[in-house]
Structures are given as C-alpha cells and as structure tokens.
C-alpha cells in the first residue's frame, strides 16, 4: 500500500498544499486504495496493483492545478457557467427568468380563496358569531387543511427563476406536513373554545406528526438553488434580505419571536383562567401585531450599526 502513497506524493509534487489541494489528495488517495485492493483481490502483487491503479487514474494535472488556483481554472469559464458574464444580478435574473405555469397560478388562486374562506368560516364559528355544529367546524378545518397542504406541496414542486423544483415525493411530504399542522391547530382551536375534549386525542397526534414530518424534511433538505443563482450570489455578493446578510439580526429576531409568543401564550392562559376564555384569545391578536411589527422593523430596517 505504501506505493500508492508514494506515487500520489509524486503526482502532487510542487503544488502548494492548500486545504483544497489536500482535500483532493485525500479523496484520490482513498479511491486509489480501493482500486488497488480490488486488483489485489484478483491476485495482483501489491506493488503492481498500486502501479496499475495510479496508471488508470489518467492525467490529473489539470484537476490539481484547478484545485490549487480555482480563480484561474479553465472550468470557471466552462459552457455550463453562462451567467458569469452578467454585469448585475438583475440582468442575470432577467436572462434566467422562469414564468410560472398559468394552470398553476389559476389553481393557486382558487385554492387560496377557498382555504381563506374556510378559515374565515371556522374563525366565525369559533368566536360564536356564527352558530355551527362541531361536525361542520371539523369539516371546515379539514377542508382548510387540505387546501393549505395542496398550496404548500404544489408550490415547492414548481420550478422558479432561482429554484429547481422539489422532487414529487418530498413535495407531497411538505404538503402533507402542512395539512397535518393546519388540521391539528384547527382542532385545538375547537377544543379551547368549548368544543368536545375528546377532539384533543385527534388534534395532538396530527400536530405532533406534522411537526415531526416538517423537522425530518427540513433536516434532509438539500440545495435547490440554481447554478446561475449560486454563481451570481458568489460574484455580486449580497442578494436577499437582511437576515441572509446579518445572521446576528436573524438570531435576535428568533429570540424576540420566542419571547413574544411565549408571553402571548402565558397571558392567554392566565387571563383565561382568571377572567374567562371569552376574551383571552385577544392575547394572541396582540402577540401577532407585535410579531409583525418586529418582523417589519428587523427584516427591512437599515443595516446594523
């Protein structure tokens, strides 16, 4: 096996050992070792196996040179990277524009309108402005969940100007997760507004499995940004909102968001227990307003001093 390492050192001789070059060397080393082991398994002598593995490798000088100096590589101007020539992000955006499919837009408007209508009906029913039996409320919630799930799933499955579509099964997973969470939240809403308590047994598993599905999909999500967009972002620097540019602001936003919602929830419970549940939900309305003001201020506010 020592021969593989010696031959590899020869191939990398005279190249400045930057981290990227070392990375490439280790990668090639592992592959050569595997190939040499395969040859030895067929009965070759270790030294011959190593020699043959390195011979089969081919000419890696170009790859090594590129790893040593990525900026000066021929691959940087390969035909796949056509966007390098654009002067600005806006120009690149225009050249790579993907129009949404008309059928998708029409169905999105339809699904959005029906989901919003069902949610409005549910809220009216929950607040007592509309007398509705529990069965109807549950039906509206499930209808809204179906709509929300469809909107989320079909949206991530669309190709956009900057994003590739999410594969079908994962998109369906995102839709299912959204539907589960919305239906779970809706049923919780029915329970806390004097609905039958047994609905909790239905709501809890829906909420938990929806959240778990979201977490699982989020943890395994891989890149879906298009190559031209990655290149333009690397070249022209900051694109996107303040949270992309300023992770500290994003962290502060996360903490403040948690504070707002935990406070709203505590106020909701305290007011509900002390003064009755009829008006305690106002705590969430106040929390929502505070949250939106915070979002507007932090996301679109000026850069950090």
């Amino acid at each position: 096996m020592t021969t593989v390492h010696r031959l590899l050192d020869d191939a990398f001789a005279g190249v400045e050992p930057t981290a990227e070059v070392q990375d490439l060397k280790e990668e090639i080393r592992a592959n050569l070792t595997s190939r040499a082991a395969e040859l030895e398994a067929t009965g070759a002598a270790p030294a011959d196996a190593a020699r043959q593995a390195v011979d089969e490798l081919g000419d890696v000088r170009a790859v090594i040179a590129e790893a040593a100096d990525p900026a000066r590589s021929p691959a940087a101007s390969s035909p796949t990277s056509s966007s390098a020539a654009y002067a600005s992000t806006a120009q690149a955006m225009l050249a790579n524009k993907v129009r949404p499919r008309p059928a998708f837009v029409v169905s999105l408007v339809f699904a959005g309108a029906s989901t919003a209508a069902l949610l409005a009906l549910t809220l009216l029913g929950l607040s007592g402005n509309l007398t509705a039996p529990v069965g109807a409320l549950v039906g509206w919630v499930l209808g809204a969940a179906l709509g929300a799930g469809w909107i989320v799933g079909s949206s991530v499955a669309q190709e956009t100007t900057t994003n590739h579509p999410v594969p079908g099964r994962r998109a369906a997973g995102y839709g299912l997760a959204a539907g589960l969470v919305v239906s779970g939240l809706g049923l919780v809403g029915i329970v806390v507004t004097d609905g039958p308590l047994w609905l909790t047994a239905l709501a809890a598993p829906l909420l938990v499995s929806g959240a778990a599905l979201f977490a699982g999909l989020g943890a395994t999500q891989t890149n879906r940004k298009k190559a031209w967009f990655r290149e333009v972002t690397a070249e022209h620097g900051t694109v996107g909102d303040r949270f992309d540019r300023d992770p500290e602001a994003a962290a502060r936003f996360g903490i403040l968001t948690a504070v707002i919602w935990v406070t709203a929830f505590v106020v909701f419970v305290v007011v509900g227990l002390a003064g009755g549940w009829a008006w305690s939900w106002l705590a969430f309305v106040v929390g929502w307003i505070a949250f939106m003001l915070l979002l507007a201020k932090m996301l679109f506010g000026g850069p950090a001093r």
């Binding site: 590129e66 990277s81 999500q221």
Partner: protein, 123 residues
C-alpha cells in the same frame, strides 16, 4: 488534437459521446444513494461491460463542477481504517437537472434515430 484512429469495426461504441454526458451519468449513479469516487467509477465501468470507462481524472473535474453548481454535496465518511472517503450526495437541484438532461437526451436520440434510419418519418 489529432484525429483518432478509426476504431475496429466490431467496436461500435463512441467514447466521446459517453464523455459528453459525464455530468448526467454521475448524477444517475447517485440517484439510489450516496457513493464515493471509486464506487461511481466502478458503476460506470461495470455498466459499459468493463470495456469502456470514463477516466477517473475526468470524473474528479466533474465532481468539482457538480459541487460548485450545487447539484451534489460532498461529505467525508467516517472510515476507521484506511483513507477517509469523500462521499457525494445528489441534491434536489441535481435531481431536477438530471430529469431535464434525460428528457433532452431522449428527444435528441429520437431525432438522430429518425434521421439515421431509412424508414420514412412518421407523419
């Protein structure tokens, strides 16, 4: 570049044509699960019956390009002995590009088939 010597008649295979689709072929080998370089190389070699292969040197350049474009992600395995292996995982962007390239290849292949065979084109 000098013109290649004409291949023997029984060797009806265009290595150049294969090389032109290296990116898509590598993406195809990663669709069923993560692999490291030698596994990818072996999958391609075995698929062509061992007679033809894409040079490993070519593959390293391909891995770098695919990684830069966000079509695959690389990560180091945790082998306890021997060198650590660099594994590649296909991303959602990689799957989308793969699907598009396969569709383009099929369409091109059909046109070439139609043009190269004697049959009258279907009307």
């Amino acid at each position: 570049m000098q013109p290649d010597q004409s291949p023997p008649a029984e060797d009806a295979f265009s290595a150049d044509l294969l090389r032109g689709h290296t990116d898509t072929i590598v993406l195809a080998t990663l669709r069923r699960g993560d692999r490291y370089g030698f596994e990818i190389y072996k999958a391609i070699r075995d698929a062509t019956g061992g007679a033809h292969e894409i040079k490993e040197a070519t593959l390293y350049a391909t891995y770098r390009r695919l990684t830069r474009d966000g079509l695959v992600e690389a990560y180091w395995g945790d082998e306890s002995q021997g060198g650590r292996r660099k594994y590649y995982r296909i991303t959602d962007a990689g799957r989308a590009v793969f699907r598009r390239n396969v569709a383009a290849w099929r369409a091109t292949r059909d046109v070439v088939d139609t043009l190269l065979t004697d049959k009258e084109p279907r009307s």
